[in-house]
């Protein structure tokens, strides 16, 4: 068995005891072998860790969704509850007086939201739409967002290009499911997607629509700082929210 086969066998888990000993021995005596072996181990570790990060982001996205969907049940002593309610009422009316009357997030949202053009997956008319992603973007361009969602179901992770989450987020927004859009857009931004600035814009709008003004402002500020997309619009929105 040559050195390359030894290394491959190691990762396949198919080496015998004596072959494993040989790997160990070569690691100490053969610098080239050791470098190559270590590089591959490092690559494996890096890819796994990256995968794990992605999974943890997915979970925290799910938690955020759940937190928005159902209010937490908190057990409190009665007097504490009463005090809290009093505080909430006070705070609520204060917030209402301060923000409620002059900021209409729905209007601001409506004035700013339009689905982003398909710039990633050109569709040649007349061609047969055999590829799943081509079908998806054809549906997207036709504004058939329900169809897009149905097709997404069939898409396995392996086939999925990063920008699917970006467009998926916009689809959810167009369908009014803003809480579903947030983890998709956030995931795309965290993965450093090429249209990150665009995604930040839509993320800000999704927060806006859900009335999360603070979160919207944070995203808009990031966008202004990037300075590559909708800078002016983001600045205007920030002013309107102020």
């Amino acid at each position: 068995m040559n050195k390359e086969e030894l290394i491959n066998g190691y990762f396949e888990g198919s080496l015998s005891e004596s072959q494993l000993a040989e790997v160990e021995n070569l690691c100490e005596t053969d610098t080239d072998f050791a470098t190559d072996f270590e590089f591959q181990k490092e690559l494996q570790q890096s890819l796994k860790k990256d995968d794990r990060l992605e999974i943890k982001q997915l979970f925290s996205g799910l938690n955020n969704q759940a937190a928005q969907a159902e209010p937490k049940v908190i057990r409190m002593r009665t007097w504490l509850a009463a005090a809290a309610i009093a505080l909430l009422v006070g705070l609520g009316s204060w917030l209402f007086l301060l923000n409620g009357s002059d900021v209409n997030t729905d209007d601001l949202y409506a004035a700013n939201f339009t689905p982003y053009d398909n710039v990633v997956h050109p569709i040649e008319r007349g061609n047969e739409l055999e590829d799943l992603q081509t079908q998806m973007f054809a549906a997207y361009e036709a504004k058939d967002y329900e169809l897009w969602l149905q097709l997404t179901e069939q898409l396995t992770t392996k086939q999925k290009d990063g920008y699917i989450d970006f467009y998926g987020g916009i689809v959810q927004m167009a369908l009014g499911n803003h809480e579903k859009a947030i983890p998709l857009l956030q995931g795309y931004i965290d993965a450093d997607g090429e249209l990150k600035d665009r995604a930040t814009w839509y993320l800000a709008l999704a927060h806006l629509k859900l009335g999360a003004i603070k979160s919207a402002e944070i995203e808009l500020a990031k966008l202004v700082q990037m300075g590559s997309f909708k800078t002016k619009a983001a600045e205007d929105l920030l002013k309107a929210l102020d």
Binding site: E4, N8, F11, E12, G13, S14, F39, Q40, E42, L43, Q44, Q45, S46, L47, K48, K49, D50, D51, R52, L53, E54, I55, K56, L58, F59, L62, N63, A66, T156, T157, K158
Partner: protein
């Protein structure tokens, strides 16, 4: 969705299946683990780690002939990892085994438990990895992440023979090294 379907999806690295399992058993897991008197943040960490272990072991085929349910496997993993936390903080708990894990599965648990996220070099490796062509990324991920043997990759990807897969893999590694090297200069 049945357990078999979920496992089949996990093997395809389908994270949606993972999300389904996460939501399905979360409340029950927290209830189950409440008797160990752990804080909620710790339980959340343990639960997430247990799912990652489940995912990684399913991917390499460890759940192919699962005799119990996905839930039993998940909770057994969660318990194992919870005990590891306690052992590290010197609290003693006597384990009753619901599921017997083999050496490989335990090693995955240890690895996930010890994982503190990628270091600078590993992050750089991943960044450069993502610059590789799709074919390269695919073959390397199948080999290193999904734990497929070269022969299995040959069948799945329809390569002519094992040598072609082997040289393709080594070419891809070389491109990756070049990408990293160029960045250093």
């Amino acid at each position: 969705m049945t357990d078999e379907q979920l496992i089949a999806q996990l093997k395809q690295r389908d994270k949606k299946a993972l999300a389904t399992i996460y939501m399905e058993y979360k409340t029950e897991f927290f209830k189950f683990a409440s008797r160990y008197n752990a804080k909620n943040e710790l339980l959340e960490d343990v639960y997430q780690d247990a799912l990652i272990v489940l995912y990684e072991n399913a991917m390499v085929g460890k759940l192919d002939h699962l005799k119990s349910s996905v839930k039993t496997y998940l909770f057994g993993t969660g318990k194992f990892m919870l005990f590891k936390h306690f052992r590290d903080s010197k609290k003693e708990i006597i384990a009753d085994e619901d599921y017997i894990f083999d050496k490989y599965e335990t090693a995955v648990m240890e690895d996930v438990f010890d994982d503190e996220g990628p270091n600078e070099y590993q992050r750089q490796l991943v960044t450069n990895f993502k610059k590789l062509g799709e074919k390269c990324r695919e073959i390397l991920e199948l080999f290193y992440v999904q734990g497929m043997k070269l022969d299995e990759i040959r069948i799945e990807q329809g390569y002519e023979n094992k040598d072609v897969v082997k040289s393709q893999k080594s070419r891809c590694l070389k491109s990756l090294k070049n990408l990293i090297h160029n960045k250093d200069e």
